[in-house]
């Protein structure tokens, strides 16, 4: 009885060893970088964590296809290193000797990658399935690019300032023109401001009491030319 048990046990182990070894068919290598991800809060990788891993893979396979009834015992781990890396295979639940095709495992894991990562507090980079490339999350893109909004705001401000300055300049010029035309009109009508010298209007001086001093009227222009 004991011998039979021993025999079946060794057969099963050998069979398992055959199924799960590095570069075996349908086997995948997993690499964890726990210290990089968690730093001081890193947990040690032991048999319990391995159990959790097997449970997650079994869960993934069940979620992927309702037909399968994968058990934790169907997931085989081997070659666990200090890095923390190991190989795993998923055996068929109905027949213990064959492995589930790699493509199915890959698709299942890809579908539930997020759940697996979260169970171990890791991310796509720190929990790597070496043959399974992860789909990267696209960056969040708003409907209007942000730069256009800022551009629009600045453009409106600048254009408003330009329009304001130009219009103010035009108004100023119009006012100046009006003033100068008013002055010209006054001069034309002859209503010039009377030049007064010492309280006596100059015209009277010229005509009656004043003498024109030749020295000072040497040049014709008494006033600086405009």
């Amino acid at each position: 009885m004991l011998q039979v048990l021993l025999l079946t046990f060794s057969v099963v182990t050998v069979a398992h060893a055959e199924l799960c070894k590095p570069d075996a068919q349908n086997a995948f290598k997993v690499r964890l970088s726990i210290k990089t991800a968690l730093g001081d809060n890193a947990y040690a990788w032991d048999a319990n964590e391995e159990y959790l891993f097997k449970a997650m893979v079994a869960f993934t396979m069940r979620r992927y296809s309702t037909k399968t009834t994968t058990q934790i015992s169907n997931v085989l781990l081997c070659n666990v290193t200090d890095r923390v890396s190991f190989w795993f295979v998923v055996t068929d639940s109905s027949k213990n000797t064959t492995t589930v095709p790699g493509s199915e495992v890959e698709a299942a894991i890809r579908m539930n990658r997020n759940r697996i990562n979260n169970a171990f507090l890791l991310s796509d980079k720190t929990l790597q399935f070496l043959k399974i490339s992860s789909t990267l999350a696209p960056p969040v893109e708003p409907s209007t690019p942000v730069w256009l909004i800022v551009f629009g705001v600045v453009l409106c401000l600048i254009v408003a300032a330009i329009v304001f300055l130009v219009v103010a300049g035009i108004q100023q010029r119009k006012k100046k023109n009006k003033e100068s035309t008013e002055r010209e009109n006054l001069e034309e009508k002859g209503e010039v401001t009377i030049t007064i010298e010492n309280g006596i209007p100059c015209e009277t001086l010229d005509l009656k009491a004043g003498h024109i001093n030749g020295v000072f009227s040497a040049d014709d222009e008494r006033f600086t030319s405009l």
């Binding site: 490339s133 789909t135 990267l136 730069w147």
Partner: protein
């Protein structure tokens, strides 16, 4: 009655305008490069010598000419000698060329500024490729910041011949940049005078913030040590002295006519001697200040890249040999490598090509200048800082202020002669003239927004103004000293400032500066002739390394100042000017 010439509200506005014009992007992106290439701290020796021999005298001369003649460049040189208005025209043309391509930098600064309001910064990560399994190939091969610059900003074509289409985003930013410049010059000195308060002082605030931030960054000290260790053997290299002279010359913006234009709006009794010394000293001090900031940023970036490189090597080794995490650190890396090489020789040999030799020196040695420094290196450093959006916004606002400050000077150089000329000024108001100039420049500037635009930019930047300016300033110096007469000029200055001209200025103007400029000119000519074909660097999107493409082009726009015979009216102006000092 003749309209009185508009004036600066106070001398401070004038000084700020000159500082704002002289302190430009060259101080930030050219001087640190030169410092690095030509001996670190030792470069300061030729730099200061050239400042004293060349920079200050020529700056003083231009300011004095402008203040004395109270006209823009064309008018001022016409007064000095009627045969020399060609010099003024040459200055205006060179300024026109400069303003055509310089505002594109402001457009790029706007682009980056608008993109800084995103989290994360768009140049922090590579975009994903089409099936979302990895990053874009082009981005993977270089880096996300380079990809953002070459692909998403410029969308650069592989060579100059492939012009490509006008990039509408860049065209919009260029239009905005020209609108901003128009807003600042709209009312002449009235508006410019207020704007320069901001454009002159804001960059210093930002530089101080960056200095504090930069010095507290991890690894900044490496950069500073690297920069300031003087390599005095470089002093024997003639290129060092030539670069120092060139840098002083172009950094102060001599020969463009902007300084003459600014000084023409001064009160005649303004002490331009003191202002010349102040402006040149501040310009040089800013260069050194900016290079301290730049080198602390370099140090940070180099240290960051070096540590990333080491980490990559460690990860590679850990994965290949399934070692425990944490067993390989930066300190024991070399011993572990030897150990692994001894214990697993075959696997190690297989791995060897991928193991890069990380070296901090190599990272620091990557000297960059120009747009590469401003837009790639700095943005790479910024993306690794905390609160990167804030630093990004500050940095690009600073670039904008520097660029707009310089643009104000350039446009003043073009507009002052136009508004001085009676023919144009009486027919059109100032706003219309400024508007037309800005509009024409904007339309031509659209060339630089095409896919090959950056190549055109490089060509213009390297070749458009160099020889012409040297010739212009040489003729200016000879004109003032020998044609107008140094004694006459001395008398004019004495009238203006009230002090006798120091013998130092006279010696510099008459002998030292012209000799220096002639030697620079000869050097550049021989350099062009010996190099033969001119070349530019192209970005090959497929191979993603910069290819040197030899390009047969003629040097664009080497303007010979034409010794035009200006109309005889100039003789009348001459008499008027001679009569003036007797007031």
């Amino acid at each position: 009655m003749e309209k009185s010439r508009p004036l600066w509200d106070n001398p401070v506005q004038f000084v700020f305008a000159c500082i704002s014009y002289a302190v430009g992007l060259g101080n930030v992106w050219r001087f640190p490069y030169l410092c690095q290439m030509y001996g670190g701290g030792g470069f300061l020796i030729p730099y200061f010598i050239m400042l004293i021999v060349e920079g200050m005298p020529l700056l003083y001369m231009e300011l004095a000419v402008g203040q004395r003649m109270r006209q823009g460049s064309i008018g001022a040189w016409k007064i000095i000698s009627p045969y020399l208005c060609g010099v003024g025209v040459a200055s205006v043309v060179v300024s026109f060329f400069l303003s055509m391509y310089y505002n594109v930098i402001n457009a790029w600064a706007f682009w980056y500024l608008f993109h800084s309001f995103q989290d994360p910064l768009p140049w922090a990560t590579c975009p994903l490729n089409s099936n979302r399994t990895g990053y874009e190939e082009e981005c993977e091969k270089t880096s996300s910041t380079q990809y953002f610059w070459y692909r998403q900003t410029l969308n650069i074509s592989p060579s100059l011949e492939v012009s490509g289409a006008v990039q509408w985003e860049q065209a919009l930013c260029l239009t905005l940049a020209w609108l901003v410049v128009y807003l600042c010059i709209l009312r002449g000195t009235e508006s410019t005078g207020k704007v320069v308060y901001v454009t002159a002082s804001l960059p210093y605030c930002v530089l101080i913030i960056y200095l504090i931030r930069g010095l507290t960054l991890h690894g900044a000290v490496n950069g500073l040590i690297y920069m300031f260790t003087p390599k005095l053997e470089q002093l024997s290299n003639p290129k060092t002295w030539i670069s120092a002279a060139t840098q002083i010359f172009f950094s102060l913006g001599l020969g463009f006519g902007s300084l003459i234009a600014f000084a023409s709006y001064n009160e005649p009794s303004n002490n331009c001697e003191r202002h010349a010394i102040i402006v040149s000293l501040i310009n040089s001090a800013t260069s050194i200040f900016a290079s301290i900031v730049t080198f602390s940023i370099y140090g940070f970036k180099a240290t960051f890249n070096y540590e990333s490189c080491i980490n990559k090597v460690i990860l590679l080794l850990l994965n290949a040999f399934d070692l425990e995490e944490g067993s390989l650190t930066a300190d024991n890396l070399n011993e572990m490598k030897d150990y692994l090489m001894a214990t697993h020789p075959q696997e190690y040999a297989q791995l060897l090509p991928q193991l890069k030799n990380c070296s901090l020196e190599a990272e620091l040695d990557t000297a960059v200048q120009g747009t590469g420094l401003a837009f790639i290196v700095y943005s790479e450093a910024i993306k690794n800082m905390e609160v990167s959006q804030l630093y990004s916004v500050l940095y690009f606002v600073m670039l904008l202020m520097l660029g707009i400050g310089s643009m104000l000077g350039n446009t003043a150089a073009i507009l002052t002669p136009l508004t001085d000329s009676k023919v144009i000024a009486t027919r059109f108001p100032k706003e219309v003239i400024s508007g037309v100039v800005c509009f024409i420049n904007c339309i031509i500037g659209l060339i630089f927004t095409m896919e090959a635009g950056n190549y055109w930019f490089d060509i213009f930047n390297d070749y458009a103004a160099t020889l012409s300016l040297l010739l212009i300033v040489l003729v200016e110096t000879i004109a003032v000293c020998y044609i107008y007469g140094l004694r006459r000029f001395e008398k004019d200055l004495h009238t203006m400032i009230g002090r006798k001209l120091n013998w130092y200025w006279k010696v510099m103007w008459a002998f030292a500066s012209p000799l220096l400029i002639i030697s620079l000119f000869i050097f550049y000519l021989t350099d062009y002739i010996l190099t033969g074909t001119l070349q530019y660097q192209a970005w090959d999107g497929t191979q993603v390394k910069q290819l040197f493409i030899y390009l047969f082009i003629l040097i664009p726009s080497r303007i010979q100042p034409s010794f035009l015979k200006c109309p005889l009216k100039a003789a009348g102006i001459d008499a008027y000017v001679r009569a003036e000092p007797s007031h």
